[in-house]
């Protein structure tokens, strides 16, 4: 069963915690993390990297793509790839390389209609609003070799571009765009780490947000007026009368 299944027609993976709102940072991290994992999962023909939920390297790993020559009759076994959200506090594979980390940089509300107004219902002054939330996503591809970081980032970048329409339709995302692959840079968070290289992939995800307002004071005021009228100035009597006679006076 695929793990890239939406939780309804919303930007959230099925099975995510109910506190994670669709379209929020963690929801988007989960969506794109699963999409990247899908590229490297299962029958991964032609690539020397594979993602599985077990991060331990296979003892028989040859780190060759299945299209390359290996021992006769023995298919080459790809190398484990780490794909996680960024800032994961306790990953199983610490300092795993190569690795792909998915994160959200920032989110901003973007106005695209005057007053953000979507519509109004005069009867109860119910007003609906809409705006686009632009989420800036960042995916870091980290590897011990510059060439590996560059090649892997290229694969991920193209995969995201190629699947964007499917992802938009599946997760009700307004737009995914502006894919930018940055320069491969040396990377070393800690002096006690080995050298590594990172290639950033940046893109925007726009999600349409809607909300409404409905004023309660006028509604309550109207109720009080009807109670007073039904009870000849006594709201309590009026409430009883309305309750017993279903709004009909004697």
């Amino acid at each position: 069963m695929s793990t890239v299944t939406p939780d309804g027609p919303r930007a959230k993976i099925l099975g995510q915690n109910e506190l994670v709102e669709p379209g929020s940072d963690l929801a988007l991290c989960g969506v794109f993390m699963e999409i990247v994992r899908a590229r490297f999962r299962g029958q991964n023909v032609g690539l020397p990297w594979i993602w599985t939920d077990d991060p331990r390297p296979d003892p028989d790993e040859t780190n060759q793509a299945s299209s390359e020559s290996g021992a006769p009759g023995t298919p080459p076994k790809p190398r484990r790839l780490t794909v996680e959200t960024d800032l994961l506090d306790d990953p199983e594979a610490r300092s795993g390389r190569p690795a792909v980390f998915v994160g959200v940089e920032e989110s901003v509300y973007n106005k695209f209609v005057i007053g953000d107004r979507y519509g109004v219902r005069r009867e109860d002054r119910f007003e609906a609003y809409t705006a686009l939330v632009i989420n800036s996503m960042k995916i870091d591809v980290v590897a011990t070799k510059r060439g590996e970081s560059s090649v892997l980032a290229n694969i991920v970048w193209r995969h995201l571009m190629a699947t964007k329409n499917i992802v938009r339709a599946t997760f009700s995302i307004h737009e995914i765009g502006d894919f930018k692959k940055g320069k491969t840079q040396p990377y070393r968070r800690d002096p006690n780490h080995q050298d590594a290289y990172t290639t950033p992939i940046l893109f925007n995800v726009a999600i349409e947000e809607r909300w409404f307002t409905r004023p309660n004071a006028p509604l309550i005021q109207e109720i009080m007026v009807r109670f007073n009228a039904a009870g000849n100035g006594d709201p309590l009597q009026g409430a009883v009368t309305l309750a017993l006679y279903n709004g009909q006076t004697k």
Binding site: P48, P55, R56, P57, E61, T62, N63, Q64, E68, R79, R80, E84, D86, L87, L88, D89, D90, P91, A93, R94, S95, G96, R97, P98, A99, F101, G103, D140, V142, A143, T144, K145, R146, G147, E148, S150, V151, R189, D190, P191, N192, H193, Q194, T198
Partner: protein, 278 residues
């Protein structure tokens, strides 16, 4: 006296290479004929060795200009070079006498000492070795290959970049076999410096320590140290030396522990019967 080959001097001629001179001791004056010498080069003191040029009949010196090996192209094979400031190169000279007797000698490229300084130098070596008998542990030094046949699996020959950090053919070095033959020494590893950082790339563990090693195998950045006692493997980051008259007595290496899933744990080092060789 048995036949002995002594390498008397190694003169660096940067940026090209080295000039070596040697002599024979214990010659049998009754033996006449051509003495055949072979000069070989390696990145580690126990090989594997590669021949430098043609055999040298009755020759007692040679200049290694580090030419491109015959029959190879630079895209496929990188020739040896001394461009790294901390490059360690070892030479072996072998001789075959007209009667078939053989001898050989191995040297690094460190300079000579005058006799008095050499005395102090030997005393320094002795003191260090004595200290390591108590506080030292067996360490296999895996010298990383810096030249040779490029990995046919993962290296892009145009840009000459390895494309797989976990290649099991070159172990991420970009050169076939990855490392020279491991050399066992006795050294001291300092206390661990374990840290765990929460970074934008998730939590990462690291461990940096200082290791004291003898002079016999010069450590470079990227070399791997294997500790047989606990199976841990460290990579050298920075190297320093204690010297007398610019000749090394012992080394200090800043090393970082290699993550446990790294392909370097696949480099074959027999840790079951470590025999200090140097």
């Amino acid at each position: 006296m048995a036949l002995t080959l002594v390498i008397t001097r190694v003169t660096p001629l940067y940026p090209e290479g080295f000039f070596l001179q040697w002599t024979l001791q214990g010659l049998d004056p009754r033996v006449g004929g051509v003495y055949q010498f072979v000069l070989e080069r390696s990145g580690g003191p126990v090989g594997p060795w590669e021949a430098v040029g043609q055999p040298l009949p009755d020759t007692y010196s040679a200049l290694d200009r580090m030419e491109q090996p015959v029959g190879t192209a630079y895209r496929d094979t990188r020739r040896a070079n001394v461009f790294g400031l901390n490059r360690a190169i070892y030479y072996r000279v072998r001789v075959t006498t007209p009667t078939g007797e053989t001898a050989e000698a191995v040297t690094d490229t460190s300079p000579d000492l005058d006799p008095k300084m050499a005395q102090y130098w030997r005393k320094g070596l002795y003191n260090f070795a004595k200290a390591m008998r108590v506080n030292g542990v067996p360490i296999a030094v895996c010298k990383r290959r810096r030249w040779g046949t490029r990995c046919p699996v993962c290296v892009d020959k145009v840009v000459r970049e390895p494309l797989r950090g976990a290649c099991t053919t070159c172990y991420g070095t970009g050169f076939t076999d990855g490392f020279f033959t491991p050399v066992w020494v006795r050294g001291q590893r300092g206390a661990p410096g374990n840290t765990s950082l929460n970074t934008p790339e998730g939590r990462q563990d690291s461990n940096g320590v200082i290791v004291r090693l003898p002079h016999s195998v010069m450590i470079e950045q990227g070399d791997v140290l294997v500790f047989s006692r606990d199976g841990k493997r460290f990579m050298c980051d920075r190297q320093g030396e204690t010297q007398i008259s610019t000749t090394t007595i012992h080394q200090l290496a800043n090393v970082t522990e290699i993550p446990r899933d790294n392909v370097i744990y696949r480099v074959r080092v027999d840790t079951t019967s470590p025999v200090p060789m140097i």
